[in-house]
Structure formats: structure tokens, C-alpha cells
């Protein structure tokens, strides 16, 4: 008997479901960053606003990368519904705390997909995920560094203005 299932789709339905959940997560991340960009802009943090606009774009790009992968492997990519996006934040610091939490959550979730791939010996998807792991290294680093500015510079006086100015300068290099 022919193995029709396998010839139609490279990834298992479990991995497909996990990646679809990840697509939703990335889309949610992108929407949250957009909301943060709006809050920062409204409150006069121009550089932070630009930073979050850029982050929103990146998350959207990640979402599309996962989306295209599912389709290329013969699966069904599901365009997600995104709700419950926060509009107001209590403080400038809270925005960055949540940004870091967001990145950590994305990393953990991709690790979970990789664990499933290991179990199934899906080395194709594992190799695909490697790009994201590298990307998350940078994303978490940047988010952590940004939050650390609050302690290094301090929020008193013109502190928040200084922090805002420095955020755009954070860059990650492996060397």
C-alpha cells in the first residue's frame, strides 16, 4: 500500500499544529510591539517608538517565514486571529519588561517545537529552526540590554530621556 500521507506532506500533523501555534505567537508579538510603539510615541519616547516599530516588522517577518515553511512542506498554514492587545502601559520601564518577557516566551516556544522534532527525528524542521534560535539569541540580548539601561542610567531627572536615546544604539555582534 502506498504511503500517500508522507508523499503529500513532509511534516507530521503534530509539528504542523505546533508551527501554526508559533505563527500565531509571532503575529501576536508583532501586534504587541506595534502597540508598544504607539504608547512610546504618545508619551514622547521617539527612539523607543522607532525601535518597537522595527521589532514589529521583524516579528512579522518571522511569522511569514514559519508560514511559508508550512506551505512549502505541504501543510496547511493558518492565518491567525489576534485579539487582546494591550493599549496602555503603566510606565516606560514596564514596556521594556514586557518586551523581554515576550522574547523569552518566543524562545521557549521554539525550543518546545525543537523538542518535538527531536522526538520525531524531524531533522528537516530542526535545521529550519536553527535560524530562529540564532535570531532569538540576538532578540533576547537586545531586550535584556534595553531593560538594563533602566538600572545603569537610572530613571531620575533626564534618565528616561537618556535611556530612550540609547535604545536605538543597542546592537548585537557574536564576536
Amino acid at each position: 500500500m502506498k504511503d500517500i500521507m508522507r508523499t503529500k506532506c513532509l511534516i507530521s500533523s503534530d509539528v504542523e499544529t505546533l508551527i501554526n501555534q508559533q505563527i500565531k505567537k509571532e503575529a501576536y508579538s508583532s501586534a504587541v510591539y506595534l502597540s508598544m510603539a504607539s504608547w512610546c510615541d504618545r508619551n514622547g519616547f521617539d527612539y523607543s517608538s522607532d525601535y518597537f516599530f522595527k521589532q514589529a516588522e521583524e516579528e512579522r517577518m518571522h511569522q511569514l517565514k514559519f508560514y511559508k515553511y508550512v506551505l512549502d512542506m505541504g501543510g496547511v498554514a493558518i492565518s491567525p486571529e489576534i485579539t487582546n492587545i494591550k493599549i496602555e502601559y503603566n510606565s516606560f520601564r514596564e514596556v521594556y519588561e514586557e518586551a523581554l518577557e515576550q522574547e523569552v516566551s518566543v524562545t521557549q516556544s521554539i525550543k518546545n517545537i525543537a523538542a518535538r522534532c527531536h522526538k520525531e527525528q524531524d531533522y528537516v524542521t530542526l535545521e529550519f529552526l536553527n535560524w530562529f534560535f540564532k535570531e532569538q539569541r540576538e532578540e533576547e540580548y537586545k531586550a535584556r540590554r534595553a531593560l538594563e539601561l533602566f538600572d545603569v542610567i537610572g530613571e531620575e531627572g533626564t534618565g528616561r530621556w537618556e535611556i530612550d536615546k540609547h535604545v536605538g544604539k543597542i546592537s548585537y555582534s557574536e564576536d
Binding site: M1, K2, D3, I4, M5, R6, K8, S13, V76
Partner: protein, 121 residues
């Protein structure tokens, strides 16, 4: 798996059967035939997955506990598929069992196929 019905050009292999129904695979047409609820219906890859999803999504427990006066009938309609099922609760449980068994057998077939034809020993 044993070949059950042999027609001039089409060969069906039984994938899984219960006392309520059976699912056959046709290698020449790359599709499956579901013999259930008094009819034989043809499903291609996409539609079989859509049927699986539609059936698995039904909350059987909720239907069992529900005290509504509405008849416990579910209409399983699959987008872009010629077939539609109108099933009672008992039949839903039966088709779910049939599909679960089928997907396990297809997975097993995948493993066997890998071992026999694809993996170099």
C-alpha cells in the same frame, strides 16, 4: 495489507475497519473510500484531513451530557467536498473510532514503507 476488492483497474486495500464501517485506500487514485453510514464516499488527501479535523472537533462529552430537547444529530459538512454526513451521536462515536484506527494504520504503513523501501539497512 490484504487486497480485498479487485476491479479491472482499481485495487482497494483495507486500511481499517470496525463493525460499523471501513476505510479503503486506492493506490491508483491516491485516495480513500469510506464505507460508512450506508454509503461509499471518496476522499482525497485534503478532504480526509478535513474530515478528521471536523470529527475530532465534536465535543462528544458535551453532547452526551446535554439535556437539550434538540435531536443529537451532527451535520458534518466539508468545504469543497462532495459528501456530507448527518450523524447521530452513536454514529459520531463510531466514525471517530474508525478514523482514529485509520490514522494509526496509515502511520504504521508509513513506518513499514520507510523500513522496506526507503531506509538503507
Amino acid at each position: 495489507m490484504q487486497d480485498l476488492i479487485t476491479l479491472p483497474s482499481i485495487t482497494f486495500s483495507e486500511v481499517f475497519s470496525t463493525k460499523n464501517g471501513a476505510i479503503y485506500q486506492s493506490d491508483s487514485e491516491n485516495c480513500w473510500y469510506i464505507d460508512f453510514a450506508g454509503k461509499l464516499a471518496r476522499f482525497d488527501y485534503r478532504n480526509l484531513l478535513k474530515l478528521q479535523k471536523a470529527v475530532y472537533q465534536i465535543d462528544i462529552e458535551n453532547l452526551l451530557l446535554s439535556s437539550d430537547k434538540a435531536p443529537d444529530l451532527e451535520i458534518i459538512f466539508i468545504c469543497a467536498c462532495d459528501h456530507c454526513y448527518v450523524l447521530s451521536l452513536i454514529q459520531i462515536i463510531a466514525i471517530k473510532e474508525l478514523l482514529q484506527g485509520t490514522f494509526v494504520m496509515l502511520e504504521l504503513n508509513h513506518i513499514i514503507y520507510d523500513r522496506l523501501h526507503r531506509i538503507v539497512a
